[in-house]
């Protein structure tokens, strides 16, 4: 039996009178690439923010890599990597200086060798002495992935990772995500609203609608229910209107 990398029970979060997340329960086994789908404002970013300890849930519990996000946030942070939607860095500092800072904050004493290794893994060698402020969105995304992987986390959170990238950038990032999962066995939790990305990357999916999980299953099962070219799109729109 596989252990859960992420375990969520009755998670609810409210911003004032607005309920962003409504009783979310979800278990994601180790080694999965999980895609959380949903419309804008469905609660995807709120979910990731709670799981990455950036936000405290109004009620419910969640654990990541076996640690409770509320009670053991320090241990959770040791186990996770996070790539926000619009990853930003200290523009006046170089790639190496930025990554050294984040690596040290993650507890790495002498991170230089590891930084070189990760930059090579994400295909971003030769830019380590350049200032991040001069980089394109695609280049930043690679540095962003490097900072998220620098301490070899057990679980990697990606918030709309392909947003704003050109087709080449999307393809390159997708390949990197698959390699992280295949080579290092990292569990990946990915927020997206691009159905095509999910079909090409994820092993299981969840669909959020107005804060409620209306579908959860493997990609094969979800797509299998609609044996057409636009299977996932049909599944997405059907979710919540039929029993999932």
């Amino acid at each position: 039996m596989t252990t859960a990398a992420i375990s969520i029970r009755s998670l609810t979060h409210r911003y004032g009178p607005t309920t962003a997340l409504d009783g979310l329960t979800l278990h994601i086994p180790e080694g999965e690439i999980f895609g959380l789908l949903g419309h804008n404002g469905a609660g995807k970013t709120t979910t990731v923010s709670i799981l990455t300890t950036l936000l405290k849930a109004t009620s419910g519990t969640a654990s990541v890599a076996g640690h409770d996000v509320r009670e053991a946030s320090h241990q959770v942070r040791r186990s996770i990597g996070y790539l926000p939607e619009n990853v930003s860095f200290y523009d006046d500092l170089t790639t190496m200086e930025n990554l050294t800072f984040f690596a040290r904050l993650s507890g790495l004493r002498r991170p230089e060798a590891r930084i070189g290794e990760v930059l090579e893994f994400v295909g971003f060698t030769g830019h380590d002495r350049e200032r991040v402020g001069t980089f394109s969105k695609g280049m930043r995304q690679r540095v962003g992935l490097a900072q998220a992987l620098i301490h070899q986390p057990a679980v990697l959170f990606l918030d709309e990772p392909t947003s704003g990238l050109d087709p080449e950038g999307v393809k390159a990032l997708r390949e990197l995500i698959l390699r992280v999962n295949a080579d290092w066995g990292t569990t990946i939790f990915m927020n997206t609203h691009l159905l095509s990305e999910v079909t090409k990357t994820c092993t299981s999916i969840g669909i959020l609608r107005s804060g409620r999980l209306v579908h959860h299953g493997t990609l094969a099962d979800t797509v299998g229910a609609f044996p057409t070219d636009d299977a996932l799109e049909r599944a997405y729109f059907a979710a919540g209107t039929t029993t999932s």
């Binding site: 241990q75 942070r77 926000p84 200290y90 040290r104 904050l105 993650s106 004493r109």
Partner: protein, 298 residues
């Protein structure tokens, strides 16, 4: 400890790379360099005036500038420290506090296994080192320029007095840097985050001494202490507000170190400046502000 050192190193690197506050730093260093010359030029003129007055037979009083210490020339530096230095320190503090919000890196830091207080303490340590370096440069400039004006190196005791002035300067600056950090963390817009410590500085430098001494605001920027108004309500107000008149205490402690005319107790004044620095630093480290995300723009 590792978080503190990492944050301090990052603070130093990021502060040096950010070019926006360079103009303020240049104004500070430039005016400190110029102040010795201004002090010297003025005292030469005053001595000439005295000679003229004496020649015209208008006075029998002794020259008030006979046998003044070479450190007399430094007294304008005291004003530039409290005028430009403290605003520079507050600005560096604001920029330090806003850095993560402006760079939008708060989420990357928030997901790291670090203690927020250690991170804040480390940043203040970095800021403190940066300010110490700047103060060190001003002290070297001062030592060289005064030595050049008096035609020889300053004595050990004069050098020690300049070093002591450096310490009290650093305490004042780090206190204002702490106020800047707090403002940057608590306020949303960069404009208001910068405006708040300037207004706080104006209250400390102008309003409080004005209430305690009836001195006019701008005259408080003259290095010569004003005769205090000690009757009626002022005597009471002055006692109550005295601990808050940080810049006046800085002037008193510095004047004693630099052998200028001084009012009040220099040791108590130095302790008040040190207490101000400690309180501002403690508040900047301990007060938790959750305004870590969102832009700083208008």
């Amino acid at each position: 400890m590792s978080t503190i050192l990492t944050a301090a190193r990052h603070e130093l690197l990021a502060s040096v790379r950010a070019k926006a506050p360079y103009a303020l730093v240049a104004a500070f260093l430039g005016m400190v360099a110029a102040s010795t010359f201004i002090g010297w030029r003025t005292s030469v003129t005053v001595t000439s005036i005295y000679d003229q007055v004496l020649a015209d037979g208008l006075t029998t009083q002794p020259n008030p500038f006979t046998d003044v210490s070479p450190l007399y020339y430094v007294r304008n530096t005291v004003i530039y420290v409290l005028l430009i230095g403290s605003l520079m320190a507050a600005t560096l503090g604001v920029q330090s506090a806003l850095r993560d919000r402006k760079a939008e890196t708060a989420a990357l830091i928030g997901t790291r296994p670090v203690d927020g207080r250690a991170l804040r303490a480390g940043r203040l340590l970095g800021l403190g080192l940066l300010l110490a370096a700047l103060v060190g440069i001003t002290q070297i400039i001062t030592w060289i320029s005064v030595s050049a004006l008096v035609g020889g190196p300053l004595s050990a005791s004069e050098t020690l007095a300049i070093a002591g002035f450096g310490v009290i300067t650093w305490l004042l600056l780090i206190g204002f840097a702490g106020i800047g950090v707090l403002s940057g963390r608590l306020l949303r817009r960069e404009r208001t985050a910068l405006l708040a410590p300037v207004v706080a500085w104006a209250v400390i430098a102008f309003v409080i001494p004005q209430l305690g001494t009836a001195a006019r605001p701008v005259s408080l920027l003259n290095p010569v202490p004003l005769p205090a108004q000690d009757s009626g309500a002022f005597s009471w107000l002055s006692q109550v507000l005295s601990p808050l008149a940080i810049t006046e205490h800085f002037k008193t402690a510095s004047a004693a170190l630099l052998e200028s005319s001084s009012t009040g107790s220099p040791l108590a004044s130095a302790l008040i400046v040190a207490l101000f620095a400690c309180l501002a630093l403690a508040a900047a480290v301990l007060i938790r502000a959750d305004r870590t995300t969102g832009g700083t723009h208008e």
